[in-house]
Amino acid sequence: MVFDIDVNGRNHAVSVERDGERYRVSIEGRTHVVDLARVDRSTLSLIFDGPEASSYAVAIAERLEPGELEVHMGAGVVYACLDRGARTRRRRAAGIEPFTTVAGEQEIVAPMPGKVVRVLVAPGDQVTVRQGLVVVEAMKMENELRSPKDGRVKDVRVRQGMTVEAGRVLVVVE
């Protein structure tokens, strides 16, 4: 069974299959054999097969938004979203979510001052909702700015390497 999981803005295809008493989980070519014990509805104990038999206590909270998970571990929390693409398609098919979630021309602005490290689209490109448009680095963090809607890139107003102020329009999607 393959799952579509977004973590920290990156999408992953994760396959899970039973392997006797354990599970075989593959993520982009990396395979883990995992022993799972469910402690209660939200608490999992994972032991990874390997020379170190690494053990992890994980708590999963399902947020009120469907598919949104909080994965809590000793190291902190990771926000994950299951099946974002399919969920959006289903919602659209059911007429809950319109195909164009944001009507009209949309300006994508820099949320903070920073440096443009990558421009991912060119004028005329067709883009889908949440597709990355520009990556802005600020405070040593890369922030991928995404399209709020399905549409066409009307204008790209920045180049790679440019320094931008907060609020500066980077891309226009129509």
Binding site: M1, F3, I5, V7, N8, H12, V14, S15, V16, R18, G20, E21, R22, Y23, V25, I27, R30, H32, V34, D35, L36, A37, R38, V39, S42, T43, L44, S45, L46, F48, S55, Y56, A57, V58, A59, I60, A61, E62, R63, L64, L69, E70, V71, H72, M73, G74, A75, G76, V77, V78, A80, L82, D83, M112, A138, M139, K140, M141
Partner: protein
Amino acid sequence: MGLRAVAVYSECDRAALHVRYADEAYAIGPSTPAESYLRIDKLVDVAKRSGADAVHPGYGFLAENEDFAAACRDAGLTFIGPSPEVIARMGSKTGARQAAIAAGVPVVPGTETPLARDVPDVEIARIADALGYPVLIKAVSGGGGKGMRVAATPEDLPGGIRAARSEATSAFGDPSIYLERRLLRPRHVEIQLLGDEHGAIVPFVERECSIQRRHQKVVEESPSVAVDGKTRAAMAEAAVAVARHVGYTNAGTIEFLLDEDGRFYFLEMNTRLQVEHPITELVTGVDLVQWQIRLAQGARLTLDPARTLAPMGHAIECRIYAEDPDNCFLPSPGRVLGLRVPAGPGIRRDDDGVTPGLDVPIYYDPLMAKLSAWGEDRPHAIARMARALGEYEVHGIKTSIPFFRWLMADASFREGRFDTTTLDALLQTRAGHPFLDISPEAEEVALVAAALHAFDRATGPRRAGDAAGESRSRWKDQARRDALR
């Protein structure tokens, strides 16, 4: 003590812990504080209706309000705290300064009388020049950093006065301000004390509260790394002198600024129990709240100052806020979906009002719990606190826990090299680098866990005899459960 507890609650607190655990609970109105928790008439009415003998004001809302204390007294109720007259006197920052001066305790150089709204800026500028810059502009009725501004130069003064006055007016209904010279790198050190109605006053070992974000305490510890036995004795003596001068009774705290040169100055007095009181209890073994009640009953203080001034070990408290440290510490109210709380040797949680299924309401302060750690010495207490923070999980809302995990590992905190300005400076140098720093390994584990969770959901509940579940021996499951504690 065999006392029964009567709780009051606003609309949004109907299912809150304090209501569930009380013997009796009474609704006092809508969630907005001004319509419920700040309504003196409603509180006194509940006290009368329920037949309560005494009122404990806690440490928020009306805890330092002389009108409330007076209303309780007029209604024949015992107010667990000092008299309304003392609250009024020490609640005015300038009144408290005058009391300290009269008691022979040094105060930070500043204005002796309030500067009312009609005092012109040029006049205030003249006072500031005489004090020397930088100056602090503070609301006379202020507290908690509200109504406070720094003027580094004369140019900053008019804007600072305007901002302080407007904040003070909206928060306290009083635009009066005063000026104080700003010490450059002071520590905030305070002395807890108890006073009985027979004239005895007992001081406690100091609390260090210099770890502040925008003038709000976030971490407190006891004892202070900057205070030696001689300074402790001098501070305790000064605190007792001020309290004695005003005839103080019940629990209170005298706050001092401790300068780099070892001199200290009276800052203000809190005429109530403080948020950070658990650390004093941890290092002295004294139950401050029980003493508050006993003192209000007229009991004599029998505590030996030699004991209350001699800390046993070291204690640290972190104020856990429903705030997102990775988004400018913005409040993060909302539904708590799950909770995993730390416990174990030396760990204590107080005033933890959070339970899964309930909301952290938008109406009140985002302080949601206090986590304290006791250790044999400071490194031991820090290690225990770091361990407890690593176990603490709050699901559904963002909290300041990741920030505290970072702070416990920070070199200047660990080495005790800080003053009241250090944390703000440290946060500035971090320049927004996330506190929630997830390693690629942890992210991989999270992905695996999320996928297994989804797999479980998709394949339905497991049957007995199934691979990874209940069929295993019970002791194995129990051991895992224990391992998760």
